[in-house]
């Protein structure tokens, strides 16, 4: 079974004799804090989340319409060197995603013309949006906020599992989990020098302001656009607007007139410059996309085309994080950066290719098979744990429509010690860091969302499938003694203060 030989982020490959050298203190903390105490703190955190309404809605469940995502109190820790390598890879990947989108929608489609990607994979892709073809977003930034899902199999082995360049969520959990940890386990922050994550909101606002269209406004109007409070990620939408101090708007609050976007306030109309939209392309503008959508703003895309508003992330980005395109990411990164991808993909078989299909069909019991346009753990076959019936169902589906599927080997995902009914035990995790791109550059926030499969041996971490979350500590490099007093705040460039 995968779990038996998995790499544990604290204990390494070595079993239970000794932790990895850098994690002796964490192992000691786990061992010396009574399990009841850990459970008590965990319950206290979850009670707080419940009280604050940090919830997500599970569609189709009326009983527990709002649930909290289980929180695990044992943090996952990245060493400074690990983080440095990861960030470099993330920046390179996101830059390539932006270059790719520019090339496809606005440039000369070089990547297609030079034969790197087959044209039908783009132009016949449901995620390709001819409606926004030829529009260059303000400052040429497309993927302002990316969440890159990573998995790990060994000390230096990180793989990208999925790119999210549309509306990646989870950042509120990154921030709330940290709040909970500081309150409940302050001793850990004495032990570790953890990089702060709470400047995320400031960085996001800077990013938004940096892509204001037209000549620089001193106070551009930025808003977060939500489908409404029944949306599963509504908490996150309000959290983000709140922490940036900007309006959280619904479609009914906006009106487009003469290609300008206005919001309706008690004092009349106010022009909107930048919209962080948390509505999918399909529902964004009924005049351009789905005409039956009530969530959207009629005329929004026209205003965008006229260059009067920035939309974050740009409409049409789905083509970059599509699972079929994903398998070409190493080539895409190479094509635009000239170098090798620093973060490799998980090996992927494109079932549209006959050899890959043949291999997949012969090894269904060993592979994970995914719909290229599926998400949230739906439409997926996990070969090693699937029933015979399920495998045969997928075999038939694959034969019928091979182009709709990709297959990947089941990886021995790393584990992190996690609270379970029988005390602290290893559970599989993945990781979603957040990368911000504005006209002011690309920034990786030192932290992210660690999702954990709470069931023993399970590899499924999706919150809709019973996964939980953990805080993710990024440790800071050791710095000279005199600036160590800036405990925890070192992510921003505070070094200028060192002379005073």
């Amino acid at each position: 079974m995968a779990a038996a030989k998995a790499f544990d982020e604290i204990w390494g490959h070595g079993g239970a004799d000794a932790p990895r050298a850098e994690f002796a203190a964490l192992a000691e903390w786990i061992a010396s804090t009574p399990p009841e105490e850990l459970t008590r703190r965990q319950e206290s955190a979850e009670a707080t989340f419940r009280q604050l309404g940090i919830t997500f809605a599970v569609y189709g469940e009326s009983e527990a319409a709002e649930r909290i995502i289980p929180f695990d109190i044992v943090p996952r820790v990245f060493l400074p060197g690990e983080w440095k390598r990861l960030s470099e890879g993330l920046v390179q990947r996101v830059e390539a995603i932006n270059a790719f989108l520019e090339d496809i929608y606005y440039g000369n489609q070089r990547i297609v013309k030079e034969g790197v990607i087959p044209p039908e994979l783009i132009y016949q892709n449901e995620q390709f949006r001819p409606e926004v073809n030829g529009i260059r977003p303000p400052h040429g930034i497309w993927a302002h906020i990316c969440g890159i899902d990573l998995v790990r199999t060994g000390p230096d082995d990180f793989f990208v599992l999925e790119d999210n360049a549309r509306t990646p969520s989870g950042v509120s959990y990154m921030l709330e989990n940290r709040e909970a940890m500081i309150r409940l386990c302050p001793e850990l922050f004495k032990e570790f020098r953890v990089a702060a994550v709470d400047s995320y909101s400031d960085l996001l606002l800077e990013t938004m302001r940096s892509v204001t269209p037209g000549p620089g406004k001193s106070r551009p109007v930025c808003v977060v656009l939500t489908p409404g409070h029944f949306n599963s990620a509504y908490y996150e939408h309000s959290f983000l607007a709140d922490s940036m101090g900007i309006e959280l708007v619904e479609a009914a609050d906006l009106v487009v007139d003469d290609d300008i976007v206005w919001m309706q306030t008690i004092a009349g109309r106010v022009q909107v410059d930048v919209i962080y939209r948390r509505i999918d392309d399909d529902f964004l503008d009924p005049l351009t996309f789905r005409p039956d959508s009530l969530l959207g703003v009629p005329g929004l895309v026209a205003a965008y085309r006229a260059g009067n508003v920035a939309i974050i992330n740009a409409p049409g980005n789905g083509i970059a994080d599509d699972k079929a395109i994903y398998s070409y990411m190493p080539e895409i990164v190479h094509f635009y950066s000239g170098g090798e991808a620093k973060l490799p993909n998980v090996e992927t078989y494109r079932c549209r290719e006959p050899d890959a299909l043949k291999y997949t069909l012969e090894n269904l019991d060993k592979l994970v098979v995914k719909l290229v346009d599926g998400s949230g753990g739906y439409g997926m076959l996990v070969g090693p744990t699937a029933s015979k019936d399920m495998i045969e169902k997928f075999r038939a589906a694959l034969k019928a429509e091979p182009h709709r599927y990709i297959a990947q080997p089941t990886l021995a995902l790393s584990t992190v010690p996690t609270m379970s009914e029988k005390g602290v035990a290893p559970r599989h995790v993945d990781f979603r860091p957040f990368v911000l791109t504005g006209s002011n550059g690309v920034q990786v926030v030192p932290g992210g969302l660690t999702r954990v499969a709470l069931r023993e041996g399970s590899l499924v971490v999706n919150s809709s499938q019973g996964g939980g979350t953990k805080d993710s500590f990024v440790l800071m490099e050791d710095v000279p003694a005199q600036s160590q007093s800036q405990n925890g705040g070192a992510m921003q460039q505070t070094q200028t203060a060192a002379g005073s």
Binding site: R50, Q51, L52, G53, H229, A241, D242, D253, I266, G268
Partner: protein, 311 residues
């Protein structure tokens, strides 16, 4: 501020105030029923329904007019849009829609109140009911406290404006119903029953002590009416609510530049109120006075919605 936000804040204020008032009304009626010299019974519960505008709707449920049935209907009934649980639900939906305009404390307070009632179906016996309404009062007080500690800006004032408009309506309604409906035929004005009922009214607006401070001559209906209509120092009196509305509207006007019909109506109402003597009201008909007040309050509510472009 978004127009939608303004509307949601105002209604948040109204719904929380309504939940609080219902809790007080139930508490006072339980006391009236249980503690008075003889049980007040059906009449007391009928008047509680009447005060909360739910008499007809309750009748349609076909249930007997018993304490247990009415209490359940007014507290936990999902099918009664005027029940406490539905008021808190509506308050929370509004709060959720405007989370960004609230502080964490204000939001948590309303969310906690809502969590308290969720999934409860049985209010229990009188003692349990009193405990439950006590906690509603505590939660709404907590919300009010949190709102008072928010920045003094449009968001706070709109919540308070909603609360003040609602409170004016509640007090007027309470007086009207209790004064005209409650006393059964054959009971003496000034008799035991009458006294109990006036005490109930005072309890509902937490003014028993205030009454003793202000009036030395013992309980009389004229004094209770005076207190609840024209005494500015009692926060739940009509006069105090009318005054508060004027003040909140002028705060809003200074901050947003928006003033108009609502301000004019509110100021005219205040000027009339300052000249009104409760004896004159009683002489010329309390019921007519209160009916007109409730109607005017509703018109003012409409003017506020137009002035702040509620959507």
């Amino acid at each position: 501020m978004l127009s939608r936000t303004a509307a949601a804040l105002y209604w948040l204020g109204r719904y929380v105030e309504r939940a609080d008032f219902l809790a007080r009304l139930i508490e006072a009626t339980v006391r009236l029923d249980a503690l008075s010299a003889r049980p007040a019974g059906e009449a007391a519960w009928r008047s509680a329904l009447s005060v909360s505008y739910t008499e007809d709707a309750f009748e349609e449920t076909g249930k007997d007019l018993t304490q247990a049935n009415v209490v359940r209907y007014l507290t936990l009934a999902e099918d009664n849009p005027g029940s406490i649980v539905r008021c808190l639900d509506a308050a929370r939906i509004n709060a959720k829609a405007v989370r960004t305009a609230l502080t964490r404390e204000s939001w948590t307070a309303i969310n906690r109140a809502w969590l308290l009632f969720r999934n409860r179906s049985n209010p229990g016996g009188p003692a349990a009911v009193l405990t439950m309404v006590e906690s509603v009062k505590a939660e709404t007080r907590g919300f009010e406290g949190a709102v008072h500690r928010m920045m003094h800006n449009e968001a706070t004032w709109l919540i308070q404006l909603g609360a003040a408009i609602e409170r004016a309506d509640n007090t007027a309604r309470l007086l009207d119903v209790k004064y005209h409906i409650l006393l059964p035929e054959g009971e003496l004005v000034g008799g035991t029953m009458d006294r109990d009922q006036w005490t109930t009214i005072l309890q509902t607006v937490s003014a028993v002590t205030a009454y003793r401070w202000l009036y030395s001559e013992g309980l009389s209906s004229a004094n209770v009416i005076d207190l609840l209509v024209s005494r500015f120092e009692l926060p739940r009196s009509l006069a105090a609510c009318v005054d508060e509305v004027v003040q909140l509207l002028s705060h809003l006007a200074r901050r947003t530049g928006l003033q108009g019909e609502a301000d004019r109506m509110a100021r005219a109402r205040l000027m009339r109120m300052q000249k009104t003597r409760s004896n004159d009201i009683i002489m010329s008909g309390l019921h007519e006075y209160l009916e007109a007040f409730i109607k005017e309050n509703a018109l003012l509510d409409g003017a506020i919605a137009r002035q702040f472009r509620f959507i």
